[in-house]
Symmetry: C2
Subunit: 440 residues, 2 copies
């Protein structure tokens, strides 16, 4: 863990690697996915069954999780877990409801007699993909499903690959059940996405699909997008934390937060920028001492080795400028006047202000969303919110006098663009006698 | 032009064709586009020059439009055109500014000592693609660029294919200049998108690309999205209008509006649903009489033949339910109590209320945006707005007491998800003595 000067980082051999990190890539899997889509579109459940046998090595009679399975799941989870779910659900719901309240739909009169306004409506039917495999992240179920629920989506489906024994982790089932999701399907991979896109005998069609997945799932979501059938969420990559700290910060807190991010996997990125060289040295020492305490030690060591950065900034402003260039998923501000520093961040997913706002608070409990843009894509994408499950309709209304005020503009554009019936459709409203011959 | 009963439309042989219409499709062009991206990424302007010679048959010394070219453009356009631009720009700007004012960023306390809020920031650098070819749509320049400008994007670039003589239509140049866009590049196709994605010696990199284009452009935008470098706008297809009218409406207005939409091209869709058979009959007669007056007659006839629908509804509610299932790009309401009917539409791009709100008013002049979801994708996508050029950052701040209230939830989730450093990063804040050994 070497410590460098931020001003010299551009010349560092790892500069490009660290700045680019790992984004989504063109997988070349489109032909495979196209085939799966065609099969699921044409043969529905039968095709899904075959793929599940092939890819998940399990022969399922019924994909849909039964009420009994959900009841059983409750007997397998700890009472503390249900309690934790309740607090997390409560806080995320409060934030989402505030997001809704934060939208106004004001009517504006652009000309006398010409009114324009907007209205946000929920997307009626949405699907949530939950990955299977080693990692179990029920918190992601909450983060994806609660905004959809608060947005007012009428139908929320969840698909997730079955385990080899044909079951789904009880923590996932209980989380979904607490949110009132009763359409849970044991389907994974591209066949899960295809079944949500087209609908099958068992799985109802949706209009939007969210949630992370492997390359097959990511390609399938893009394929669905291209088919014009669905929209999808933003791409998501490995976890990242970026910390700006000065000499007032506690190196133990910072070391803990960097390790908490790094433990997700070897591709995670952990960055510490500080005006205090002494602080960075203490943090590095602390990580070297403490990492071995965790069963996730290998992830911590490897991700810091691969994408870690410890750099000294001449000023907090230099650190802020670099943060906006790096565009981190999570950024923690542990400086004097942390709120003022935080307010200067404009490229990031989520900003954690002050010494007691550890990333794990936002991961699980504060009410903020943890589905956030990674790999620098915070320059152009936002974290998940109710807005991802709603769509804006624009409204407009002209009086006859209002339209008259727009008439010259309409006529001129219609002429330039060579669209005579556009001109006529305005003009006919001012003269019902056969004056249309003038429009050509 | 046959007239059917809406209740029987599901059994009609054209049902699937009309409901699906033409969405974007997997083009199979990814390998071609990948190659163009690699060349432009590695060789910059030289590669762009080669592709421009190959695809546009023109050998350009300089891609960037000069100040002199813009000055000359003003001498080639009509004074009325500049006046029309002014009104259109003014009205679109007013609507976009209202969209910004309609966002609040309220701080919410989810638990005592736990605060969450949001902030919307502009995407710093965006690119707008303007198609070349036969059709000339300067109004689309306004519709794409004004929301970006009002959102506060610092850098707005425009690329468009050069004509065979190496020029760009003066109407496009004047429209861009009136918006203060001074980065205009004579580049088309996938090479234009690649140059915006990576940047070249001449073209600066951007973080988002919007604007319609052919299959190469659409595939290139998706390829850029997959590379993690950019975000893109929603897919766009042929124009559509859907009219709900009752016996109070004027058949001449309706016929004109259907023709105005149909004249865009043979793939456009024009739908009239009415409770009055007599009204529909008059509209059909009117179209049959009038279409031949327009130089765009072939488009009108063909698109109505291909995707037109004239159907009698038993009630306005039946018509509304069908509109929400069809999810039209544009919907016009010409009924009694039009505002009440309009308010029941939840799947549409833009709603035109009343007899004097013709579609061409929204296309050019009212201030509403005309970049709208087509092919039924209004079920999941919105029309273009300032929100497409902004991104939300979430903020959170915990006091020590606030974090303490979240502690059990954090610990429980960290245990379930197998992330011990997550637990530790919270716990360390309550005990600086070496209690980390407890976290594993």
């Amino acid at each position: 863990m070497k410590i460098i000067k931020l001003a010299k980082f551009k010349l560092d051999k790892n500069y490009t690697k660290i700045m680019k990190r790992s984004g989504e890539q063109y997988s070349g899997l489109f032909d495979t996915v196209k085939n799966i889509f065609n099969e699921v579109c044409q043969r529905g459940d039968i095709a899904v069954k075959e793929y599940t046998k092939q890819f998940d090595s399990v022969d399922l009679k019924n994909f849909k999780v039964s009420k009994q399975e959900i009841q059983e799941a409750y007997t397998k989870v700890d009472a503390n877990y249900v309690k934790a779910l309740e607090q997390s659900i409560n806080n995320i719901t409060l934030v989402c409801k505030q997001q809704i309240r934060d939208i106004k739909n004001t009517v504006i009169e652009t000309q006398p007699g010409v009114r324009v306004w907007q209205k946000w409506n929920p997307i009626e039917k949405v699907g949530l993909y939950v990955p299977g495999g080693r990692a179990l992240y029920p918190s992601s179920v909450l983060m994806n499903a609660i905004p959809a629920k608060v947005a007012g989506c009428k139908q929320i489906s969840l698909t997730t690959p079955p385990q080899k024994n044909g079951n789904i982790a009880p923590e996932i089932l209980v989380a979904a059940d607490r949110l009132g999701i009763n359409k849970i399907f044991k389907i994974g991979g591209a066949q899960a996405i295809a079944s949500l896109v087209y609908g099958t005998e068992t799985v109802p069609k949706v209009y939007k699909i969210v949630g992370p997945g492997n390359a097959y799932v990511a390609t399938a979501k893009l394929y669905g997008l291209m088919s014009g059938e669905i929209s999808i969420d933003s791409p998501a990559g490995p976890s990242e934390v970026f910390i700006i700290a000065d000499e007032t910060a506690d190196p133990k807190f910072i070391a803990a937060d960097l390790m908490a991010d790094a433990e997700h996997g070897p591709d995670g990125a952990s960055v510490l920028i500080s005006t205090s060289k002494k602080l960075i040295e203490k943090v590095v020492e602390e990580i070297e001492n403490k990492a071995k305490q965790f069963k996730t030690q290998n992830n911590i060591t490897n991700s810091i080795e691969n994408y870690g950065l410890f750099a000294i900034a001449k000023s907090t402003d230099e650190a802020i400028a670099f943060a906006n260039e790096y565009a981190p998923e999570h950024i923690q501000i542990m400086t004097k006047n942390a709120l003022i520093v935080a307010d200067k961040i404009y490229n990031a997913g989520s900003v954690f202000v002050g010494n007691y706002t550890c990333k794990s608070a936002g991961d699980y409990a504060s009410g903020a969303n943890h589905v956030l843009p990674t790999g620098g894509s915070a320059k152009t994408f936002s974290g998940l919110s109710v807005f991802d499950f709603m769509k804006r309709i624009e409204y407009q209304q002209c009086s006859k006098q209002g339209l008259d005020r727009l008439r010259n503009t309409i006529n001129t554009f219609a002429d330039v663009e060579g669209l005579p019936a556009h001109k006529y459709s305005c003009g006919v409203r001012f003269n019902n006698n056969k004056t249309y011959e003038k429009f050509s």
